[in-house]
């Protein structure tokens, strides 16, 4: 791709977006933040779809410290690693991920009610 760019020096590169680093994030690599009800008024928050390069354990450690909750990294057969946190931390997690620069605001999808 880069060769083509060099050969034809046009002002507008139609593939610029597609070649960009985070192109996939716009279309399908969403970070899904879900909530799940447990017994009583307890709930779980799951964070799925973070980039593979990140160390999930380190993120989890910070999340736990920040929100004062427990959590684990779950290994799922299809979805890879998923961060699980106790309690409804959807808002917290999304703001944290955006602030830390781990995910963009557009690529975060909050599910649940």
């Amino acid at each position: 791709m880069s060769e083509v760019d060099v050969q034809i020096p046009t002002a507008f590169d139609p593939f610029a977006e597609a070649n960009a680093e985070d192109s996939g994030a716009g279309s399908k690599e969403y970070v899904h933040i879900r909530i799940q009800q447990r017994n009583g008024r307890k709930s779980l928050t799951t964070v799925q779809g973070l980039k593979k390069e990140f160390s999930y354990n380190k993120i989890l450690k910070d999340l736990k410290k920040e929100f004062c909750c427990n959590g684990t990294v779950v290994q799922d057969s299809e979805l890879g690693q998923v961060i699980q946190l106790q309690g409804d931390q959807r808002k917290n997690v999304s703001t944290f991920l955006v602030q830390a620069g781990i995910a963009k605001k557009e690529s975060i999808k909050i599910h649940g009610f």
């Binding site: 899904h32 799940q36 447990r38 017994n39 998923v82 599910h111 649940g112 009610f113």
Partner: protein, 271 residues
């Protein structure tokens, strides 16, 4: 009627100090900005009587008194054809023109003059006519209204969504599709019961359902181009496509994925 007249006339004289142009046989309507409805109807009546008197040639007397400027034909025309809507319009126009001194109390601003029509005025005229004849075409986008979800609690752990079928019908969507979406978003399991109600495991408030349905409508019902909910969802070789019935545009929509569901509840010893 006779006793009403002087009353109104007095008011007008106070309110209206604009010089009257006798060459144009027009009477001015009294400023209705402060008057109420009853006054309005009264006004109509007086107009009628006055138009009669005008046609009898008492115009000069009126002119001396700084009477209403109004075309003699106007009131009848107003009353029989359009009624209140134009009445309002008239008032507005009149108020706009008040500053000019000489006020042509007419249905359209160009009446009585031989100037060219302005685009804005013609546009306004078209929309007024359209609104009178068939209001649904006048471009006021009607909001799609969905009834709020009715939710009951079944026991302590299950929630019943009573008017689930109704809502599916208003959205023109398959209940299975809507159900899949709801269950995936809420991360629980559920099913339709004998009366076609949706039973969901877990405790949910009506507001929760509403939020999720709103998201469903945005993603799977509303046309991106024209925002109309009149769309059809069809499946073509494993992909879902949304086609708009209003503007004919189409788009693909994401399939519903449940995502990760954590194990809650007690686990068996074996696993």
């Amino acid at each position: 009627m006779a006793e009403d007249n002087p009353n109104v006339d007095l008011k007008e004289e106070v309110a209206e100090l604009a010089p009257f142009d006798p060459s144009k046989k027009k009477k001015k309507k009294k400023p209705v900005a402060s008057s109420d409805l009853a006054d309005d109807s009264l006004d109509k009546l007086t107009e009628k009587t006055e138009s009669l008197s005008v046609s009898e040639g008492v115009e000069n007397a009126f002119a001396g008194l700084k009477k209403k400027k109004k075309k003699p034909v106007e009131p009848d025309f107003l009353n029989e054809e359009t009624g209140d809507a134009v009445e309002d319009l008239d008032d507005q126009i009149k108020e706009d023109e008040e500053g000019e001194g000489i006020v042509l109390q007419t249905r359209y601003p160009w009446e009585g003059t031989d100037r060219d029509y302005e685009y804005e005025e013609l546009l306004g005229r078209v929309f007024n006519i359209l609104r009178e004849n068939n209001p649904e075409l006048a471009g006021d986008r009607r909001r799609t209204v969905m009834r709020p979800p009715q939710v009951l609690r079944e026991g302590t752990k299950k929630t019943v969504f009573v008017n689930f079928m109704d809502l599916c019908k208003t959205m023109h969507r398959q209940p299975e599709h809507v159900m899949n979406f709801l269950l995936a978003e809420m991360g629980t399991s559920g099913s339709l019961d004998g009366q076609q109600r949706l039973v969901v495991k877990g405790r949910f408030a009506p507001k929760n359902f509403e939020g999720i349905l709103r998201r469903y409508v945005n993603e799977y019902v509303i046309c991106n181009g024209c925002k109309s909910p009149d769309t059809i969802l069809s499946k073509e070789n494993r992909l879902f496509f949304l086609r708009c019935e209003q503007c004919g545009s189409g788009r693909s929509v994401a399939p519903i994925k449940a995502g990760f569901v954590a194990r809650v509840g007690r686990r068996k010893a074996g696993t």
